[in-house]
């Protein structure tokens, strides 16, 4: 008896991902694009944590179990995945914003349409 069905979480994650992708696709401004990317990464984490809570143990049993499920232990892969993604998001944000600031110094703008010096 689940108090909240799993698919509710998956829906929220799907919504976050789509909205984030929309933001990343339509925004002119590099920082806004980055915000869209952060939303997408959040969607990944919602998925991962929801699966951690709802799925991990049984699937282990079903897949021939790389770990016996004697006393019931919840696999932590989902949470670890989420932690790793959070760390990666932080690293990405740091590098991306550093680039935005450096570019702003030379161009006085961080709108993507202004980035047209590289063309073939």
């Amino acid at each position: 008896m689940a108090m909240i069905p799993l698919w509710w979480y998956l829906m929220v994650a799907a919504g976050l991902f789509t909205i984030g992708l929309y933001g990343a696709l339509v925004r002119k401004n590099a920082v806004s694009v980055l915000m869209g990317i952060e939303l997408m990464l959040n969607a990944v984490n919602v998925n991962a944590v929801a699966f951690w809570r709802y799925v991990s143990p049984t699937a282990k049993a079903a897949a021939g179990a790389d770990r016996p499920v004697g006393d019931f232990v919840v696999g932590m892969d989902g949470q670890v995945f989420a932690v790793v993604v959070i760390a990666l998001a932080a690293a990405e944000a740091a590098v991306g914003l550093a680039m935005v600031i450096a570019l702003y110094r030379s161009r006085r703008s961080f709108n993507l349409p202004q980035m047209d010096q590289l063309q073939g």
């Binding site: 699937a59 897949a63 770990r67 006393d71 892969d77 670890v80 790793v84 990405e92 590289l118 073939g120």
Partner: protein, 516 residues
């Protein structure tokens, strides 16, 4: 606890790289009076890691899982498979990555010297990129795969934008970053669904589910696993720069400092193929019927778009970007012709590995020349190559050889590689793709010849520029690359055996089945 001795042995190349990277980073702190030797330290580190890899490969062949661990709930003897596998396949890509980096470091040393004050940081980043490539080669867990790909991406973004006073460099870096981050977010999203299917990020556990069709049907996974895998494929295709995930590559190639461009053209590609092959051919070959079509499409687009778009480029770095997109298409051709076998006894995966091997040396040789020319003329535009034959016969002739090898002219290495890949495609049931490959290969002659024409027949307007003095490092790299291009072309047997052995280590089941 993870088993420490196995980490110290089978993970030693990576440990050496980490230590070397930290030393390079903090070089200024420890060493006074002998500034600017970070490049040498980086070269020493790479050589040490290379030696460690070779020693491991020779003394301890076979597959060694590292970071095997028993969770607190596990009973004895039932441990989680290692997150990293050190086998022949890993060694192969370790050696390629380290050798490639070594050549880049040697040829790019003088280039970077005058351009940045952050030498320690630059070489530390290069070393960490190699580390990331090694991790990609051996990763056996979704978390580690994602982490390694992102690691390499982040390092590549920084390296591309490294010359920050150059607005172009930053622009290229930012474009690379934005495309890359969106793609990797999509890849991670796909991985999160795989996590839901497997309940675990361990690739063997997922592969077990994929091999079990009843389970997949009953639980309705089949519909989700493939799209999720497609998202993962997109992330990898971005690193390899396959069409349509290639838009970043011309900009990044043109904007990056040229040694970094050289690195980007081989390192991430090789590592990306390592992940691609280990994941799709090694673990999810049971689903090959489903992913072959998608990959075939990517392959077709890459060969066509890469070769056609290269025709109109006026900047040699940009042209090389499209050329390497096309080359990646040829490599992928080997992957999609699963089960094919060539006349030389190479199977399809072996053909890919052989192709990557030749590509690394040929491309790096070409880039060593490009770096030297940019060093002398300050430009990578086509005009900078005017009259290169007169200014430096060594550079001009060797660039012609490398281009011929990239086109696939016998008896050079590139010919054998292309022959192998096309052969695998024909026997593996991908005849139309092979035909397209051959035709686009003919097209590629045109753009390479554009450069050659400038070098040999281009008359310079502003008098006679003097000869180019080629540094020791560049000469060394060019000669090594030339040697390899010729040797592999004329005497390919040992390399074929090598590639085949490595391929068998990753997909033994495939070989046993003897076909598709």
């Amino acid at each position: 606890m993870p088993h420490i001795p196995s980490i110290l042995t089978h993970f030693s190349p990576e440990l050496i790289l980490v230590v070397g990277m930290l030393l390079v980073l903090t070089y200024d702190l420890w060493v006074r009076g002998r500034e600017g030797l970070q490049a040498n330290l980086a070269i020493i580190t790479t050589v040490l890691a290379l030696v460690a890899t070779l020693v491991l490969w020779v003394t301890m062949p076979g597959s060694h899982p590292v970071f095997e661990a028993c969770g607190p709930g596990a009973k004895a003897g039932t441990c989680r498979p290692g997150a990293f596998i050190s086998d022949d396949f890993t060694h192969f890509f370790r050696v390629l990555g380290l050798l490639g980096t070594l050549l880049v470091l040697i040829s790019g040393q003088t280039y970077m010297r005058g351009r940045t004050a952050f030498k320690g940081e630059f070489y530390a980043l290069v070393l960490s990129a190699v580390l990331a490539m090694n991790l990609m080669a051996g990763a056996n867990d979704l978390i580690v795969i994602a982490l390694a790909i992102e690691f390499l991406s982040i390092t590549s973004y920084i390296l591309t934008a490294f010359l920050r006073h150059d607005g172009l460099s930053i622009e290229g870096g930012l474009k690379y970053f934005l495309y890359g981050s969106i793609t990797s977010a999509a890849m991670l999203f796909g991985m999160s669904y795989l996590l839901g299917i497997g309940g675990s990020t361990s690739v063997p556990a997922l592969a077990a589910i994929a091999r079990n069709p009843e389970l997949a049907q009953v639980q309705g996974y089949a519909n989700i696993m493939l799209p999720a895998l497609a998202l993962v494929l997109a992330g990898i295709a971005f690193k390899i720069a396959l069409v349509p995930f290639h838009q970043w590559s011309p900009d990044a190639y043109q904007a990056a400092p040229t040694p970094v461009t050289a690195f980007l053209s081989v390192g991430p590609k090789a590592a990306g193929f390592a992940v691609l092959i280990r994941l799709f051919v090694g673990s999810f070959s049971s689903l090959s019927a489903s992913w072959l079509g998608t990959m075939g499409l990517l392959c077709l687009l890459s060969m066509v778009v890469g070769n056609v778009a290269a025709l109109t480029q006026g900047n040699v770095k940009r042209m090389m970007a499209y050329s390497s997109i096309a080359q990646a298409g040829y490599m992928l051709l080997g992957v999609v012709s699963l089960g094919g076998k060539t006349l030389m006894g190479l199977d399809s995966v072996g053909a890919v590995l052989f192709f990557i091997l030749t590509y690394v040396f040929t491309n790096l040789g070409a880039f060593a020349v490009i770096i030297a020319v940019e060093q002398a003329t300050g430009s990578a535009e086509l005009g900078a190559y005017r009259g290169l034959m007169r200014r430096s016969p060594l550079l001009a002739v060797s660039l012609v050889v490398f281009f011929l090898s990239l086109v696939g002219v016998p008896p050079l290495a590139g010919f054998v590689a292309k022959f192998a890949v096309f052969g695998a495609a024909v026997t593996g049931g991908q005849v139309p793709l092979a035909v397209v490959g051959v035709l686009t290969g003919v097209v590629s002659v045109v753009y390479y010849f554009g450069v050659v024409r400038e070098m040999f027949f281009g008359a310079s307007e502003e008098g006679q520029p003097g000869p180019i003095r080629v540094g020791m490092g560049t000469t060394f790299v060019v000669l090594v690359a030339l040697l390899m291009t010729l040797v592999v072309g004329l005497w390919p047997e040992p390399f074929i055996t090598l590639a085949n052995n490595v391929a068998h280590s990753i997909a033994p089941a495939l070989q046993a089945a003897g076909g598709h």
